[in-house]
């Protein structure tokens, strides 16, 4: 069910002719991805995905769509002519990925994850992953300053 939601709305995102439909299907895709995280016992990832992507990123994209197109006209400009070539390339890549997935001997036993991974993840982040955390913080700060600098009034 979750997989069906994710895949079908992702298909709507890339194939729809209307920008509004694409945006709402994008939100549905992100919600489906959060559901897959829940099935993978990744509760922190599910919460972070809902808060950051479903809420913040969708609001960003909706604001971008409202600021960059006329409200009554959400038509997407026509695609390129070589659309079938790119579709063929994507399909070939997908077939290659599927072959690789099925010939690789993955470890299929489940690892020892508890039902509640948030505490373990936060202990791991403030001990062994402290340096990436600091780098990501500085990166996020500079990205915010850069975004505010880009859309200032001249």
């Amino acid at each position: 069910m979750v997989i069906l939601l994710t895949v079908s709305s992702a298909a709507i995102v890339t194939l729809s002719k209307n920008l509004k439909h694409s945006i709402f299907a994008f939100v549905a895709t992100l919600i489906g991805i959060s559901g897959m995280y829940i099935f993978l016992m990744a509760d922190l990832l599910a919460i972070a995905n809902i808060i950051l992507n479903v809420v913040a990123l969708s609001v960003l994209i909706i604001i971008g769509a409202l600021l960059t197109s006329k409200v009554t006209d959400f038509k997407i400009p026509k695609s390129v002519k070589q659309k079938y070539i790119y579709a063929g390339i994507s399909l070939l890549f997908f077939i290659l990925l599927v072959i690789l997935i099925f010939i690789t001997p993955w470890k299929t036993e489940k690892s020892e994850l508890t039902n509640y991974t948030i505490k373990a993840i936060e202990e791991s982040i403030i001990t062994s992953y402290l340096m990436p955390l600091e780098i990501v913080s500085i990166f996020l700060l500079s990205a915010l300053v850069g975004a505010a600098f880009l859309i200032r009034k001249r």
Partner: protein, 102 residues
């Protein structure tokens, strides 16, 4: 739902849909959403390997950092798209041409 192949297949489908969207869409916002699909497929892979492989919890931490970096990239990207619209009055990326010929 209970094997690693399901998640890898869904991730491959999302990646290829995102690839198709990036190469064929002409609207900058839609290219943006396709890039987000590609990054989400990578995150699903990381979470799946943290569930099914020897990569316990480290995969989830990688995916967490990837989500944060995705959001920072998205904020700068939307700012660039709005700036481009203010300059060219369109976000059709075929028409973003400063040399004057169509």
């Amino acid at each position: 739902m209970n094997s690693v192949y399901t998640y890898l297949l869904v991730s491959a489908i999302l990646f290829c849909l995102g690839l198709y969207g990036v190469t064929t869409r002409r609207n900058a916002l839609l290219i943006f959403m396709s890039i987000e699909l590609i990054l989400s497929s990578a995150n699903i892979n990381l979470a799946a390997f943290s569930r099914f492989g020897a990569l316990s919890l480290d995969g989830q931490i990688f995916a967490f950092f990837a989500i944060v970096i995705t959001l920072a990239q998205a904020s700068v990207g939307i700012a660039i798209v709005i700036n481009v619209y203010n300059t060219f009055h369109t976000i059709n990326i075929d028409k973003l041409d400063t040399s004057g010929n169509k």
